[in-house]
Amino acid sequence: MDSLITAAAHALAGGDPLGALNFVALRNDAPALALRGIAMAQLGDLTRAKTLLKSAARAFGAKEAMARARCAVAEAEIALISRNLTWPTKALERARITLEEHGDRANVAYARYLKARRLLLVGRLREAEEALVGLESISLAPALHTGCELVSAGIAIRRIRAKAARAALARADEAARMAAIPALMAEVEAVALVLDTPAARLITKGEARPLLLDEVEPLLASDALVVDACRFAVRCAGKVVPLETRPVLFALARALAEAWPADVSRETLLLRAFRARYADESHRARLRVEIGRLRKALRGMADVKATAAGFRLALNRTGEVVVLAPPVEEEHASVLALLADGESWSSTALALALGVSQRTVQRALETLVEEGKVQAVGQARARRWMTPPVPGFPTTLLLPAPISIG
């Protein structure tokens, strides 16, 4: 490499894209094009960045496999920042293998970090963790180190491990200060803010109060029976009964848990579970069937007992019953939770990240637009969705993650 290319690369690694452009703005050889592309990406002009990187990859000769692989890694990062989650992951994997063969350790680590970040976004936490394995033992450049720790923090947050998340965040903060890149420090602060914002509401004996993620962790580890309205499950002493696909059972469980230790009238239960405004004999029969199903689902955790007016939850042993609810209850809260990162998302990427169909996401977005909660920019395939960051909005507990704890 020549002197100006090295100088520009150095400026980029230090988070100074304008300095880098000063060195190579007027050059059109392959390495200069690649660096201009990365500088543009850092400045936020992702479209221009993509074009520059593509022409750089073409300008490198067929035998310059390593340079082309680096372009592919840079393109993957741009795809990730623009929340284009359908970007071909195989290309990134191929690039990683090429870089590994050439002993370019720094960029191999970068490729693995990008892979982990994407997996975290789509909620594949175990794979994200695997992608990061071994990176902590290599000495990474401070900027990359910050990124890796932020991914670790993200994984811990979604796993509801507040302590691990705070530890990773502290390491990210330290690395970001070493890198002395303002954008990185801001990113660390944004994640810190998530940890200091109520992650949920705790409803017990008819009263509600906000909970931080730090408080959710011990709650789930306690012997309380937790009806988790963030992830649609009932948890008790390490056992989890997922009810995501059984909305009626979940509505009944939640109504009963909110009232515990008191009972809930049949009328209220019918209203909550079936939205029935009045109760006829067929509704009553259906309620009996559903209560029977709930009893079966909760076997070993709690019993559902009939009372004069309706039903109540009865614990097998001593302990509490609580409801863990999102801080703000919205019909399409999980979509809003993803958009809360302030990036512009395509509906395809939202569907991928939430693991639902694109049509479902589009319906949710239509409703949210009508309510003025999200904005659309662009048309047709280029259409993107965004929301102004809402303080205190539910985020992490609504994002996809494995349902089990521990």
Partner: protein
């Protein structure tokens, strides 16, 4: 043209706090190498770090017996190794496309990477005295016993070339093994070449072919 495989006799690094080696030189005792924002001195006897100078260092490095010369973006800086102070600055002939740097016979010799050529310049003014054309991307440049050697790095392959300074003709070539690029080159004045290993962050020592023996054959 003589043609053989390069014999790597030693390898140092990668060094903490210096991810890459952009250029290097030898002051008779220590190897100085450029790593972006710093010049690092190591002892070639044991590979241990000895000293460092905070100075922009993006490509070739040279030593004239008293001062270090270091390419930084499109300039060549003359640095006092004792104080670390920049004594003077001249423009680089490749206007930033420069790679290797050597000092010999009162001149600086600068490799221009993608233009595949070597310039001989006046170390006081930076004026180009002469240009030698090569046929590969030039990285490091060095002189030893009146022989001009340069390193190449193109299409992910590197070699060391002994060229005729008048015609540019390649007289001898040493191929580096696959995966070992050369970003900077300096001779120790005898039978060893120090080679910067680019992004591997290593400094390698390559044996200079034995000429007395070669001439007898």
């Amino acid at each position: 043209m003589k043609h053989s495989a390069a014999e790597i006799i030693n390898e140092y690094g990668p060094f903490p706090s210096a991810e890459q080696v952009h250029g290097l030189t030898y002051d008779g005792k220590h190897v100085w190498f450029a790593s972006g924002d710093r010049l690092n001195a190591i002892d070639p006897a044991d590979g241990k770090a000895f000293d460092s100078i905070e100075v922009p260092a993006h490509a070739g490095t040279a030593f004239d017996g008293e001062h270090l010369f270091q390419i930084a973006d499109s300039r060549i800086q003359k640095i006092d190794p004792k104080t670390g102070r920049v004594a003077s600055t001249i423009p680089a002939p490749g206007n930033g496309g420069d790679s290797g740097l050597a000092w010999a016979e009162g001149s600086l010799w600068v490799g221009e990477y993608r233009e595949r050529r070597i310039h001989q310049i006046d170390p006081e003014t930076g004026a180009v005295l002469r240009t030698i054309q090569s046929n590969r991307f030039v990285t490091g440049v060095t002189w030893v016993d009146g022989e001009l050697w340069h390193a190449t790095w193109e299409d992910e392959k590197s070699d060391l070339r002994h060229i005729d300074p008048d015609t540019g003709e390649t007289l001898e070539r040493l191929d580096m093994p696959a995966g070992t690029g050369i970003s900077g080159l300096e001779s120790d004045g005898h039978d060893r070449f120090f080679c910067g290993g680019g992004n591997s962050g290593k400094v390698r020592v390559v044996r200079r072919p034995n000429h007395a023996q070669a001439n007898r054959q």
